[in-house]
Amino acid sequence: MTQESARQRILNRLKSGKRQTKDVPVGSPVAPTEPVHISPERTPQTAAEKLERFCDQLRLSHAEVLCVGEDEIQQALGQHLRENAIKNLLYAPGSVASRRMGDQTAFVETRPFEQPVEQWKAALFDDMEAGISHAQAGIAQTGTLMLATGPSEPRTLSLVPPVHYVLIHEGQIVETLAGAFGTKPWGNTLPTNLLLISGPSKTADIQTTLAYGAHGPKRLVVIVYGGTRQYPVSEA
């Protein structure tokens, strides 16, 4: 009852304030009539340039980037896991990432994410060393991965384990965030979380000194796959 009246009072004040100040036609559409897209840095880019910018920007944000052929994901991932002595890898059964990563049991203990988080919160936080996701899109301008959470992309998979692997097809890299939103790769309704990730978790809250691994993953490893491989495989 009081809730209803607080709502009503706020809206009434806003509506009468609006009348007092500016004439906006009643019933005009809520959505903007003229879409605005200005981005001065925007330049037309080829697929190769986009890929290069994407990788460069991610590396500037302290992410590790591996560019491999479509059939080399399994090996590249396995090698990275082994070289970094990572003991286990969390994946979502039925996800694109789980199909693309192939059989990793030779390198690491693989663990399917199949129970509700409450049932194994402590193990998720304390035991899991790495998680693997698949990005729906990449944004070249800022070196950003776009992830859509859902049954096959749990929210905590890309958040809790200290190392986060992300697979992305090079064909999914677009120039700008506006472009990535425009293609709506998630379909009609937004996913429960639409995530934009641009590097490992970080903070500069102590005397503006940058430190990585604040609350989320300490390391972000991006595996860009596709046919062209125009960009060097190893990291500079």
Binding site: A6, I10, R13, S28, T142, L195, S198, S201, G216
Partner: protein, 480 residues
């Protein structure tokens, strides 16, 4: 330090707080370094002034357009959020917002709350209100966590612990968390990470702010670097988002340009590590995420600002903090001297409007009207103009705005001086006479003028006025 509705007036002791800040050498050094760092980082992101002005004009247009439809957008946001399973609540005042949140927590039997960074929660003094109800609220943003351990509050809206040195934080952790002393930043962050990761797991509920609420999608956008915002809104079974009513935008298309301006202006980043668009609670097939999501829409004076065409511009703010980073006064004082939730230029404009001029109007005096804040504001809020308007409202009741406490800081002598000043300047004969008098009687003027001459020499009129000089140079010109 959070200034809630019950606390004493911000005006009280402002001058004393300024004195304390100006005498604190460690603070001065810290602020100078930190502000230079933020100013330089922002400048690297906007190397071309005219390109920035184009972006600024666009940001301003988008925010203006959204505000013009504010009531409709809020209704749309409410219905779309409801469809998405987000429960929407409306709070007229800070107290009401605190009540709604504590009721939600009690209904869920929640005793511990983990908080992502939210300036709105500072504005309503939520932590203190929850403490009175026996609910433990823990800050999880590293900076907020540090100031909470310290028993103070944020001194900057983006970097809450900017006033503290690394060594001070090292001692604080050692004393309060009983860990071995270290002043290595990575080690300190590592300690914070460990402590807070267990807090995330134990918390019964999470609270976050909102950077943008997207009406057409019924979604909440959160911008951060640390991941604590994601943790707070993902791990606990209940998520409560607190959002000022002005934070609503129409569609997803509004996000890229505003986000671009926000992160570049705030920390000089092209984008932050995480941007999270939250559409709703855990769905049937999902294995994680909160079971329930609530959105509390906070008015607390905003609808009053909205009613005045000029003051409405305040509501365009996207809380980037660039105005304080570029403010010569903030850079000397730091946030605590203001004694208000929002310090710096935006605080000087927002606080008197929320709390009333009789309680916070003195803040507008801490400004040299140099204009830096208005120039860097990513959405073009005319901050110096608004500060001037509020100074006027502090003395007069003639404006049509609904700002509480209008005219209550009026000082009779000062008002009389300004009245005479205006009178003289509006009458050419009188003006010429006064100038003649001042130039001829210049040696009779006092050498000591209160605080002004404590650090400066006293100003002295020239023997001849500018008009005299010009008349002399060109005797035929009668305009002088």
């Amino acid at each position: 330090m959070s200034m809630g509705p019950q606390s004493e007036s911000i005006n009280a002791g402002f001058k004393q707080r300024i004195d304390v800040a100006l005498k604190d050498d460690a603070l001065q050094g810290n602020l100078r370094r930190a502000m230079d760092f933020l100013v330089d980082k922002r400048a690297l992101q906007f190397p071309d002034t005219s390109a920035f002005e184009t972006l600024q004009a666009e940001g301003r247009r988008i925010r203006q357009r959204n505000l013009e439809k504010l009531p409709e957008l809020l209704e749309r946001l409410e219905s779309r959020c409801t469809e998405n399973g987000i429960r929407v609540h409306w709070a007229e005042t800070a107290d009401e917002a605190c009540r709604i949140i504590s009721t939600l927590l009690k209904d869920a039997n929640a005793n511990t709350l983990i908080k992502g960074k939210s300036m709105a929660s500072e504005e309503i003094a939520l932590n203190a209100a929850l403490e009175r109800q026996g609910i433990d609220a823990i800050e999880s943003d590293m900076g907020e966590y540090i100031v909470q351990l310290d028993g103070t509050g944020p001194s900057h809206i983006i970097m809450p612990a900017i006033h503290k040195t690394r060594e001070e934080i090292a001692r604080l952790f050692h004393e309060r968390l009983h860990t071995d002393y270290t002043d290595d930043v990575d080690a300190l962050i590592g300690i914070g990470r460990e402590v807070l990761r267990s807090r995330f797991q134990q918390a019964d509920a999470g609270l976050s702010g909102v950077n943008f609420a997207i009406a057409e999608e019924g979604a909440l956008c959160l911008v951060e670097n640390e991941g604590n915002g994601r943790m707070s809104t993902t791990i606990p079974p209940l998520h409560i988002a607190l959002c000022g009513i002005e934070k609503v935008v129409a569609t997803l298309e509004d996000i890229p340009p505003l986000l671009n301006l926000l992160t570049k202006s705030a920390t000089g980043q092209a984008i932050t590590t995480y941007v999270n668009l939250i559409r709703g609670p855990r769905q049937k097939e999902e294995l994680d995420g909160p079971r329930a999501v609530h959105l509390v829409l906070l008015d607390n004076g905003r609808s009053r600002m909205f009613a005045d065409q000029r003051l409405r511009e305040t509501l365009r703010c996207i809380r980037c903090g660039a105005c304080m980073n570029h403010c010569p006064v903030y850079t000397r004082l730091g946030g605590h001297a203001y004694g208000s939730t929002y310090p710096g230029p935006i605080g000087q404009v927002v606080m008197p409007q929320i709390e009333g001029i009789h309680r916070a109007g003195e803040l507008t005096q801490a400004c040299s009207l140099n204009g830096s804040c208005g120039e860097v504001c990513p959405v073009g809020i005319p901050l110096p103009g608004l500060i001037r308007q509020l100074r006027h409202e502090a003395n007069e009741t003639d404006s049509r705005s609904g700002t509480p406490g209008k005219g209550q800081l009026r000082k009779p002598l000062e008002s009389l001086v300004w009245k005479l000043w205006a009178l003289v300047h509006a009458r050419p004969t009188l003006y010429r006479f006064m100038c003649w008098l001042a130039s001829r009687g210049r040696t009779l003027l006092p050498r000591q003028i209160g605080p002004w001459t404590r650090t400066r020499s006293s100003p002295r009129p020239a023997p001849r006025t500018l008009h005299d000089h010009l008349r002399h140079r060109n005797p035929k010109n009668r305009r002088y």
